[in-house]
């Protein structure tokens, strides 16, 4: 059996809806990861030792366990405790949680990169802790780490096929269903691979541009 271009083109429209689902999961998951990661990063610098330790352990734990298992945990265990959530919501939650552990490390590097004098200056100006974070530290911490965050957006995007394991109709699951219907796996799976390749190459080009822009922004 060789690659059948006619068949490949005929199944292309079926991936449209799946691509929308994949994008929803990617963008919502990343938004969650950006917020939660910041929470972990700030909690790690808390003056309360217990809070700092728990945040550090949580990040380490999430980073050392497979996303697939976390996905299963949320999918099978969460409904036992509370309201049922859809596979898409479960997927967004799992992706967001998993990648928040990575973004937390990125934020940490960015925050550590802010000069000590900035904290002291904020103290000297009698700014409160919340105001210091919001107006002095974070604006300086975030710009240099934008490219690193962009890389994690690409990485998260590439993990969305895992959501097929919890029955979400994203790109890979759609390909599997087409394969099961027609007994042709080569074309749908190759198309999904090609789609991911094109989109992630585009995204990494954008990230590189962002990196250059950030450098210019910082060094004038």
């Amino acid at each position: 059996m060789i690659f059948d271009w006619g068949f490949a083109f005929s199944i292309l429209p079926a991936f449209g809806q799946a691509l929308v689902v994949t994008m929803q999961a990617t963008l919502a998951g990343m938004a969650l990861a950006l917020v939660l990661g910041l929470v972990w990063a700030i909690a790690r610098r808390s003056r309360n030792r217990l809070v700092a330790f728990c945040a550090g352990f949580l990040v380490e734990f999430i980073r050392s366990t497979p996303l697939l298992v976390q996905l299963y945990f949320l999918f099978y265990v969460l409904p036992l405790w509370g309201p049922r959530i859809t596979p898409l919501e479960t997927g967004i939650l799992a992706l967001g949680l998993h990648y928040s552990a990575y973004t937390a490390e990125v934020y940490r590097a960015g925050i550590n990169g802010v000069a000590r004098g900035q904290w002291e200056a904020a103290l000297a100006l009698n700014l409160g802790r919340a105001v210091t974070w919001r107006t002095v530290i974070l604006p300086q911490a975030v710009v240099p780490i934008l490219p690193a965050l962009g890389n994690y957006l690409v990485a998260l995007f590439k993990e969305t096929p895992l959501l097929s394991a919890i029955t979400l109709l994203e790109l890979l699951h759609t390909a599997k269903l087409i394969g099961a219907d027609t007994f042709r796996y080569l074309e749908p799976l190759s198309l999904v691979g090609a789609l991911f390749l094109i989109l992630s190459l585009m995204a990494s080009t954008l990230t590189r541009k962002l990196e250059k822009a950030c450098d210019r922004f910082r060094h004038g």
Binding site: S64, Y72, V77, L80, K158, L186, F196, S200
Partner: protein
């Protein structure tokens, strides 16, 4: 719960086997592609670039499915273990190639020139001068990649291989005790990852011993 330990243990064996096998493949692929990226011959550089971008640009799970479900249709057939080791190894190797390339390019030019001035052959220069310095810089990122690899082995449960995650899924279906089963599973992966992290830190300290360049001092 205790009754189910044997099943989990056999899953653990598969997970460890896959991790070690794929690490070996990744090690070879990373060095081959990383050094090829720095080759003077353009076709060699191009080939390495295609390999790296292909495996880094697509998802590991898609690659696994492609090799396991699509390749047999064109006559190339692997059993699940081989497919798992090969795909996970090549996938991690593509990331590792960038680590190797980065560490090799971070060695100052003078080191190459000094080796040349001492009339060392290129192989001698690489083996005795460049690599001993470069390897130290490779170990910490390699440790991170190894843990990513361990986590990625969970994907093989989706091509019917009986690894830890697969056994846990079977257990869940049999007992309906989702909470304890998955909590145990997460705990096992966490311990495995911590063990690997510890091992790589030991390796790093060992290699850095007596070095005054590129390592932790």
């Amino acid at each position: 719960m205790v009754d189910y330990l044997p099943a989990m243990l056999s899953g653990l064996k598969v997970t460890v086997l896959l991790t070690l096998g794929a690490m070996a493949v990744a090690f070879v692929a990373a060095f081959a592609a990383g050094m090829a990226r720095l080759s003077r011959r353009a076709p060699v550089r191009g080939l390495a670039l295609v390999y790296i971008e292909l495996f880094r640009g697509t998802s590991a799970l898609v690659q696994l499915f492609w090799v396991y479900f699509a390749l047999p249709l064109v006559g190339i057939r692997f059993d699940a273990v081989t497919a798992g080791i090969l795909v996970l190894g090549l996938n991690t190797g593509a990331y590792g190639a960038e680590v190797v390339r980065g560490a090799l390019s971070a060695i100052p030019r003078e080191q190459y020139q000094a080796a040349w001035a001492l009339n060392l052959s290129p192989a001698q220069a690489l083996w005795r001068v460049i690599l001993p310095q470069a390897v130290i810089a490779m170990v910490p990122p390699a440790g991170n990649l190894a843990i990513e690899l361990l986590k990625n082995t969970a994907l093989v449960s989706l091509i019917t291989l009986g690894d830890l995650t697969f056994q846990a899924q079977t257990l869940r279906a049999a007992t309906l005790e989702s909470g304890p089963v998955f909590a145990l599973l997460l705990g096992i992966y966490f311990l495995l990852a911590q063990t690997m992290r510890f091992g790589f830190r030991r390796l790093e300290n060992r290699l850095a011993h007596g070095q005054d360049y590129g390592g932790v001092r």
